[in-house]
């Protein structure tokens, strides 16, 4: 009951936040000098009447505050509006979200499955050659910009011919049976996953290692050791449970990155996810699409934090006691 009340309170708190985010983004986009109609105006074969009609259709003839009001009302009603081409925003997003989710969830799953154990092992074997090598490798991983790494891997794919040049499926995908479809997608996913994996693994492993080292140094671990518990029990029962809490907060942020974290890599790999869609929308000042994606980002961030907090309540008795 307490938890439910807490969740409800948190959701209420997000409302003013979302209003602020939407107001700021809307005004920044509209006040930027990008005119969605500039191309039309400079096209010799388009009549001034058509330009005027487009202006009315996009609602650009009204003051910004009215435009915002209109957008906000339909947003609250659950209607994301239409893109500047007249397609439904919700449909456009729906087309892309599964692909982005596929990519990011594989990456998150992999990094957590690999990063957390690596962090623990490194901490337990502190200052051994194994730990040192890992530290160097993760430094490299953190230092490479994802964009640059993606381009390098693409060049590698061109030179060797071992991997496809971006995309998600082969042109003859439709004629494949299920097994081959699965293989085809996996084959296309290797490079983008490799890029995102390398970069996020580095951060996660270091974080886990640092947390673990902190905990291993604390008095209760020393006490547990002094009590004569086996090293396995000390590390995995006593230390790990305490070291994992900051990671849960981190998980909340990772959740927020599910939809937007891979944009650059998606762009380089020509991956049919949200990244390319939103980039183009921003360039063309396609307001409904940009707003929808920004709001989506904000909601995901809030939701991620909420989930992390709830998980913390479950894992950490100290928070429960306080509330």
């Amino acid at each position: 009951m307490e938890t439910l009340k807490y969740i409800f309170k948190r959701i209420l708190q997000t409302i003013p936040l979302l209003v602020m985010v939407s107001l700021i983004s809307f005004f920044i986009i509209r006040l930027s000098p990008v005119d969605p109609l500039a191309e039309l105006k400079l096209n010799p074969s388009i009549s001034p009447e058509t330009v005027q009609k487009e202006k009315e259709r996009l609602g650009l003839d009204k003051p910004i505050i009215v435009q915002y009001g209109k957008w906000a009302i339909s947003f609250v009603k659950g209607d994301l509006g239409v893109t500047s081409n007249g397609e439904k925003v919700s449909r456009k997003l729906q087309e892309r979200i599964p692909y982005t989710l596929l990519l990011t969830s594989i990456v998150i799953l992999l990094t957590w499955l690999v990063g957390v154990p690596l962090g623990i092992i490194a901490a337990v074997n502190w200052k051994t050659p194994f730990d040192r090598i890992l530290t160097v490798l993760t430094s490299v991983g953190m230092a490479i910009p994802s964009f640059f790494f993606a381009v390098l891997l693409l060049m590698f794919a061109v030179k060797t011919g071992w991997f496809p040049i971006g995309g998600l499926t082969s042109p003859n995908f439709a004629e494949m049976n299920f097994g081959r479809k699965f293989l085809d997608i996996s084959y296309h996913l290797i490079l983008p996953v490799a890029v995102l994996f390398t970069i996020s693994l580095a951060g996660l492993q270091r974080q886990m290692r640092a947390n673990m080292l902190d905990v291993l140094d604390s008095d209760y671990v020393k006490f547990a050791r002094a009590k004569g518990l086996s090293e396995f029990k000390v590390v995995y029962k006593h230390a790990l449970r305490n070291a994992i809490n900051p990671m849960i907060t981190l998980l909340g942020f990772e959740f927020a990155g599910l939809l937007s974290g891979a944009a650059l890599t998606e762009y380089v790999f020509n991956y049919p996810g949200l990244g390319t869609l939103i980039l183009e929308a921003v360039m063309k000042s396609d307001i409904n699409l940009v707003m929808a994606s920004l709001m989506m980002g904000a909601v995901m961030l809030v939701a991620g934090n909420l989930i992390a907090d709830i998980l913390l309540v479950i894992t950490d008795p100290r928070i429960r006691v306080k509330s």
Binding site: P33, V34, D35, A38, K41, L42, P44, S45, I46, S47, P48, E49, T50, N85, G86, E87, R91, K92, E95, R96, L154, M155, A157, V158, G161, P164, I165, G166, G167, L168, T169, P171, A174, Y267, V268, N270, P272, G273, T276, L277, E280
Partner: protein, 614 residues
């Protein structure tokens, strides 16, 4: 102790080696001019398809060599892919091309001569009055679902879709003559008559508009404009398309690809009387940007590519060891120009749009001549377009069928330019700075849109060239929208570098730029209230040429008017043309029946292209 020294040395060594590895020997500059000169436009004789009648069916017969059936062609499109597959609702080029593949028009353009040739129509005839067009349709040809293509489809398309203003209205807008639309009438099941209110030559090009199957479109048309806008959108099931073109949609995956398959009912056959097209599949990969496209071509994922200037030299040297051939399609239809603001009027606040001191220079023909002579076009082609371009002196693009070939190119001539300036009383002080006869320093702004690297590079070179005459040029690349605003609303600019894409087939498409009250008459733009205020004599003549050119019907008559218009611009220089990039395409050698066309591109005859297996 020694350990540390050794470690330091090792690290330094590693860094030095790494740096050494990064410094590649300077790549030898490749002289591209040799390539363009050696490789003039391939003048290919295209075997024009003929009409043949077999068992009462009027087929179109390809005269190209007979090929093998099967295989696929994979090409690409940059950006977000099509927004719709409805040919009457496509507002962007990609959507228009993607739907155009499926819906043929009555006429199309001959790839070499640029003249209209029959496509869905069997033949066409323009009556001597210049207003009546009689179109005969093919007997017995079918839509992809087996229903016959008849005059009803044509009349329906024109009356209920195009003239009714459904979807994209640009076709309709371009045909309004004195506020009236042409009319269309069914004579019998296979004959249609069009009539324009006045003789209006550009109309014939409109007949290449797609024809819709009435039995599919009629229910959608009945539901009105809003429904029509979402009809045959990218979410429509591929099975629901009923097409007349060589290929039919098979699959569309957003941001991934568009796949077409052969239309079994297509009306073109080869000389062995087998139904075309040869290819089983046509695939468009939707790629994010140019770099991705190039990588995909190099990895063999796509078969055709348009090469940018900088890449041509490398591809040319690789060509003999590769599986592709380069084709030079000639100059592009886009033109790059430097325009001078000739506006001499005041705005509603009674202030001049252009500073009166500057007005005097810009209005002076000698000043404009000097600017024209000072610009080093060859140098720009060499340095900016990597040699893959041609200097340009006329407003019509170099592949236009109306190009006035009498207007001769000329080289940079600073001496002559100085003479022209002297004639108008301009003089230079000891430092070489240019002053006008009233003692004002010649200084003005040159704009272009920021972000367009090509135009920015041209701007820098124009600035240098004009500074050789002692002018002070403030080159200001500004944001595209602000620039458009300056050009079409506030008129507060001096000189600008811009580009326009015209039609190589129809100069009338540029009338908005050249007519004195046109919406894009940038060099002397008038507000709607001003009408034709302060019209210059040569502007008046331009108006006349464009009015007469649209009304004349025979090609030769029209050519005379349009030759004169180009001559006026060439002499009066309100816009100084700079260069046209040359289009170079590469396609894998296994594809046969390739007839590159400067007007229609490399793969305009998709139905005739086949794959030769090795």
């Amino acid at each position: 102790m020694n350990w540390r020294v050794i470690r330091v040395i090792l690290v330094i060594l590693a860094v030095v080696l790494l740096l050494k590895g990064c410094i590649v020997k300077d790549i030898k500059p490749v002289d591209n001019s040799a390539i363009t000169q050696k490789e003039t436009v391939q003048n290919v004789e295209y075997p024009t398809p003929k009409n043949v009648e077999i068992n009462g069916i009027d087929y179109l017969q390809s005269q190209a060599p007979v090929g093998k059936f099967g295989g696929e062609l994979i090409t690409s499109t940059i950006g977000q892919g099509p927004k719709t597959f409805n040919p009457f609702n496509s507002k962007d080029n990609i959507s228009a091309a993607m739907s155009g593949i499926m819906y043929d028009g009555l006429l199309s353009t001959h790839p070499v001569t640029g003249q209209p040739v029959p496509r869905l129509a069997k033949s066409f005839e323009i009556l001597p009055d210049g207003m009546t067009y009689i179109i005969k349709l093919r007997h017995g040809i079918k839509w992809s679902d087996g229903k016959p293509i008849t005059a009803d489809d044509v009349v329906f398309t024109w009356n209920d879709i195009i003239f009714a203003g459904l979807g994209d209205t640009s076709t309709r807008d371009s045909m309004v003559i004195d506020g009236k639309l042409p009319t269309v009438r069914k004579i019998d099941d296979y004959t249609v008559e069009f009539e324009t209110p006045k003789p209006y030559a550009p109309f014939i090009r409109s007949l290449s508009a797609s024809i819709a199957p009435k039995h599919v479109f009629a229910p959608a048309v009945k539901k009105g404009g809003a429904y029509f806008d979402s009809f045959l959108s990218t979410t429509t099931k591929p099975e629901d398309f009923v097409v007349s073109g060589a290929f039919k949609l098979k699959e569309y995956l957003p941001a991934q690809r568009v796949v077409y398959v052969r239309n079994p009912n297509y009306y073109e056959i080869n000389t062995k009387d087998e139904k075309l097209p040869y290819l089983d599949k046509l695939v468009y990969l939707i790629v994010g940007d140019l770099n991705n496209e190039i990588l995909k071509f190099e990895a063999g994922e796509i078969d055709v590519i348009t090469l940018q200037g900088a890449k041509v030299a490398r591809y040319k040297t690789l060509e003999p060891h590769s599986d592709y051939t380069l084709y030079n399609l000639g100059p592009a239809t886009s033109t790059m120009y430097l325009s001078v603001n000739l506006n001499d009027r005041k705005n509603e606040n009674n202030k001049y749009y252009v500073n009166p001191i500057k007005q005097k220079w810009f209005q002076d023909i000698n000043f404009r001549r000097a600017v024209d002579l000072a610009i080093d076009r060859k140098n720009m082609v060499f340095n900016i377009a990597n040699g893959i371009g041609t200097p340009l002196f006329t407003p019509e693009s170099l592949n236009s069928i109306y190009l006035n070939k009498k207007l001769k190119p000329f080289d940079r001539n600073i001496q002559q330019a100085e003479n022209y300036l002297k004639k108008s009383g301009f003089y230079r002080d000891k430092k070489g700075n240019l002053f006008d006869k009233d003692g004002h320093r010649v200084e003005f702004d040159l704009y272009t849109n920021a972000g367009n690297t090509e135009r920015e590079a041209i701007g820098v070179m124009v600035k240098q060239d004009l500074e050789d005459l002692g002018m002070k040029v403030n080159f200001k690349p500004i944001e595209f929208n602000s620039l458009v605003n300056k050009l079409v609303s506030t008129f507060d600019w001096d000189m600008v570098i811009m580009g326009l894409t015209g039609s190589p087939l129809e100069p009338n498409s540029g009338k908005n730029v050249w007519m004195s009250d046109g919406r894009l008459h940038m060099f002397n733009m008038r507000t709607p209230n001003e009408g034709k205020k302060n019209i210059l004599p040569w502007e008046k003549e331009l108006d006349e040429m464009f009015t007469k050119g649209a009304l004349a019907t025979s090609f030769d008559d029209r050519k005379k008017y349009y030759d004169r218009y180009q001559e006026i611009i060439y002499n009066e220089k309100p816009m100084v043309y700079i260069y046209s990039p040359v289009i170079i395409n590469a396609i894998r050698r296994k594809f046969k029946n390739i007839y590159p066309s400067s007007l229609n591109g490399l793969t305009h005859n998709l139905e005739e292209i086949y794959v030769e297996e090795k």
